[in-house]
């Protein structure tokens, strides 16, 4: 009975997180479209609901009711599986991201996270990189040259940036002495980890942009060269899952992890601790600011070439991440 109770409790909790993420992602699409519109001096979605506020619902209905075309010569099993393989790991990262300290309401202790593992950060990295298979298999299963090239480009980009990301994360881990995301936040009571880890933060920003395929790094879909990259043959909701997973859920969750690692998680901004804002809200303010930063980069910069991207991964980002480890080690020796 105990097992059943735990399972049901965890299932309900995960469902709440997943539903919240879905609704959040729907409105992140509206945010992105509005932002992109204003960057390009046009109003963005305007006609569905007041000031385009109901646009995500219309989008969702449209994408769900579209005809689901499957081309003849694709590998059917992998074709279906690939869209799920891109989407599910992105959602699975949520299992290890904490959104605040446990708090009590009406005598019930509520933990705003699904699990607090000792190796939370490693697992987040692992789940984030599993979604690479969705893109590669989507490219292979489509049995068409543009998706294939897109999938291979994505693989080349991800292999380079995963390595740099892994080394960049070592800095905050060394300072906190733990892989647990909650303990990393607790270790930033006095000072945020951005201070000695500034190089690692730069590397992480590049890696998040590369992993989520946002514009300076969107060689895997590159409309001008590859039609639509790995999603060329997809339609309807199978198509919708890819951008939903990469551009919204993955970007949001990775922003949350970056905030936890470098900006003190749910701790208030310096000198503003007296404001009556709950820590939950502080966390979302920071994540929102970082997310907007990624949108800003996405809608302003042109695209790199593939060789420039891989060259930067191995020749700039990896040495920067290693230099950061050295700096943090010296910092720890000097300041304890």
């Amino acid at each position: 009975m105990d097992l059943l109770g735990t399972a049901i409790f965890l299932a309900i909790k995960s469902l709440i997180f997943i539903m919240g993420m879905f609704l959040g992602a729907a409105y992140l699409t509206l945010l992105e479209r509005k932002f992109a519109g204003h960057v390009q001096q046009r109003p963005g979605p305007l006609h569905v609901g007041p000031h385009g506020f109901l646009q995500p619902i219309a989008d969702a209905l449209k994408v769900l009711t579209k005809e689901d075309l499957v081309p003849d010569n694709v590998d059917k099993v992998l074709f279906y599986l690939a869209s799920l393989m891109a989407f599910v790991p992105a959602i699975m990262i949520l299992a290890v991201v904490p959104f605040g300290e446990p708090f009590t309401i009406f005598g019930i202790e509520i933990q705003p996270y699904i699990s607090d593992l000792n190796v939370g950060l490693l697992l987040a990295l692992a789940f984030g990189s599993i979604s690479i298979y969705g893109v590669i298999f989507a490219g292979w299963a489509s049995n068409s040259k543009y998706p294939m090239i897109g999938g291979l480009r994505k693989a080349a980009v991800l292999i380079g940036y995963e390595v740099a990301l892994g080394f960049a994360l070592a800095g905050p881990i060394m300072m906190a002495g733990s892989f647990s995301l909650r303990e990393i936040v607790e270790a930033q009571q006095g000072m945020w980890f951005i201070i000695p880890n500034i190089l690692a933060f730069v590397v992480v920003v590049f890696c998040v942009l590369a992993e989520t395929g946002r514009t300076p790094f969107d060689v895997q879909e590159a409309e001008a060269e590859l039609v639509g990259g790995y999603v060329t043959e997809y339609t309807g909701m199978k198509f919708g899952l890819f951008p939903l997973a990469e551009w919204y859920i993955a970007t949001f969750v990775l922003s949350a992890i970056t905030v936890i690692l470098f900006f003190g998680g749910w701790q208030p901004l310096p000198l503003l601790g007296w404001l009556p804002i709950p820590e939950f809200l502080w966390f979302f303010i920071k994540v929102f600011l970082l997310f907007m930063f990624f949108l800003w980069v996405h809608w302003t910069l042109p695209r790199y070439r593939v060789d420039q991207i891989t060259e930067m991964a191995w020749k700039v980002m990896l040495p920067l991440a290693l230099a950061n480890i050295l700096i943090v080690a010296v910092w720890i020796i000097i300041f304890g």
Binding site: L3, T6, D75, V77, L78, L81, L117, N118, V119, L122, L123, L125, A126, F127, S129, I130, I132, Y133, I136, F137, G139, W140, M148, G151, L152, A155, L158, I159, E162, S178, F179
Partner: protein
């Protein structure tokens, strides 16, 4: 049933099923897919045994970093000849496979025999966590083998670069 026991049976049966898939799938991409599934299930087994560090590293290194290169190679080779099967290779592959099996069996039996004899007791690991226990052993008792392993990997990497390097080819068509 306990949560751990349930987890063990689910993960191990799925791991065995997908391992069978690796051997018997004719389509090489499906074989790689079942290999990924096997590795993830094995990492689940590590989690049920409380070795969460090894489990996470299993996903990160084996299921992603290594298999992604298999996928890259296989998916770029057109019409991979999975059907080609020559019996003369069995003369060498069967004895070698048997030797590897013996070695693995010896290592796992030996490991089961001499487990819990290190300096870390169960209670201590519960207290300090897996990561610290592994790191402490790795950088004290096993520092020399660790460094030697990294040196061997470095040599292998340099060798791969030397083999993979193209000689400087003058592009005649471009010069015309």
């Amino acid at each position: 049933m306990e949560l751990n026991a349930t987890g063990f049976w689910v993960f191990s049966s799925l791991a065995v099923l997908s391992a069978i898939g690796v051997v018997f799938f004719r389509n090489i991409i499906y074989a790689v897919l079942s290999l990924i599934s096997t590795l993830i299930m094995v990492s689940g087994l590590f989690f049920t045994m409380g070795a969460e560090l090894i489990g996470a590293l299993q996903i990160l290194i084996y299921a992603v970093a290594i298999v992604v290169f298999y996928v890259l190679v296989i998916s770029t080779v057109p019409e991979f000849k999975g059907q080609a099967f020559e019996t003369k290779y069995m003369l060498i592959s069967v004895p070698v496979g048997f030797l590897i099996f013996l070695e693995l069996a010896f290592v796992s039996l030996y490991g089961a025999w001499s487990s819990n004899t290190g300096i870390f007791t169960q209670e201590l690991i519960q207290q300090v966590g897996n990561t610290k226990a592994v790191a402490t052993l790795l950088f004290t008792k096993y520092l020399f083998p660790f460094e030697v392993a990294s040196l061997i990997l470095l040599v292998a990497m340099i060798g791969a670069i030397v083999i993979g390097r193209k000689d400087h080819v003058i592009d005649e068509e471009a010069e015309k």
